[in-house]
Symmetry: C2
Subunit: 232 residues, 2 copies
Amino acid sequence: MQARLIMSKKKKKAVVLLSGGLDSATTLYIAKNKGFEPYGLIFDYGQKHLKEIVQAKRIAKVAQCSFKVVKVSFPWKGSSLLDKKIKIPKKRSLERIKKEIPSTYVPSRNIIFLSFASSFAESIGAIAIFIGANAVDYSGYPDCRPEFIVSFQEILDKGTKSGVCKKRIKIYAPLISKTKAQIIKIGLKLKVPYRLTWSCYQGGQKPCGVCDSCLLRQKGFDAIKFKDPSLK
Amino acid sequence: MQARLIMSKKKKKAVVLLSGGLDSATTLYIAKNKGFEPYGLIFDYGQKHLKEIVQAKRIAKVAQCSFKVVKVSFPWKGSSLLDKKIKIPKKRSLERIKKEIPSTYVPSRNIIFLSFASSFAESIGAIAIFIGANAVDYSGYPDCRPEFIVSFQEILDKGTKSGVCKKRIKIYAPLISKTKAQIIKIGLKLKVPYRLTWSCYQGGQKPCGVCDSCLLRQKGFDAIKFKDPSLK
């Protein structure tokens, strides 16, 4: 028992961005599988789909991952995820989803999230940040692409005390080049509790099935012929 | 009168980070002087020296600059500017101030501030962000150095809808290579209301005169033999 405790103390810390969705849950389990001690970071930023916060906390608990919730206000308009007056797009074709940046884009959201992750990582001495960004089956958000992740690594190296003092914080985006089907396959092997994950952009009790996020999720489960456990 | 209104409508928008201090106030007046319509962004992040927020608002009003206040929580420890249990350093020599990153460093603060500035800029269609970062008479913060600013430009270019859609947002850090004396000289020409600026890290009614920020400010006014108007 004592040996296990000592082992546990030696684990390297990693901050993991948790949204309650399928990708971030998988990313959390990948971080654990790589031997990191994960510290979840969940954002309450006024999103319509508040349920994802509840689910993110549940996933963290099942994964025995401590977490912090950061409240962030966006006191300006500009996204259908935040603004009740703007409708969330429905039934877009998968081709169109890939081509256009939709109204669900929240200006600079991942930049803000990674900035807080950087602050949290510096404060607890973590050497890694995990983000479930994906640039294959995604909604065309610029802050989910590999070149953005590379740029943010520069920020961590040049703009933080950790970076300057040679205690580099490394960003991991293990899903960035994977299809949704590949992500689910990895997650099933790692026993990710997909029944708890929430992807839908709408604020309903059940997933709407027609927003971009629901459609991309369904595409993934369909491709591997596996029933989405959250729909049971 | 109508001609002036039309002119005013044509002005390009710029987000200006406002702290209430001498550097950011000067930066605001530089932005105005360059012909931008400034949009101030002020942060309430739990700092001990809350007075700077009051002063930032006053400066914005005098400069006829609209502004937003963003409340940001840092639910972790790590800085004497936030944590009441950690004392703010006093009477450090100017040589020492330049050499060490002090306990007043707030992990990743400017990364977070610029991230919100990016979001705000995207949302209002601004083409510029002004930050009063300075890497000469400063406290050694890594997120005040030119290489950090260059990295953040990459983030704006690669990780935002504006950057991807060729509506580039450019960061201006006009004070980055100037001494405090040079900054004050520029500000006096532009009629910056220095009487309203607040630099002290302590939460007192009057500037303490011994924190790094007070010392650097005093050095600037001494160098040009000008009495600090805020001390009258």
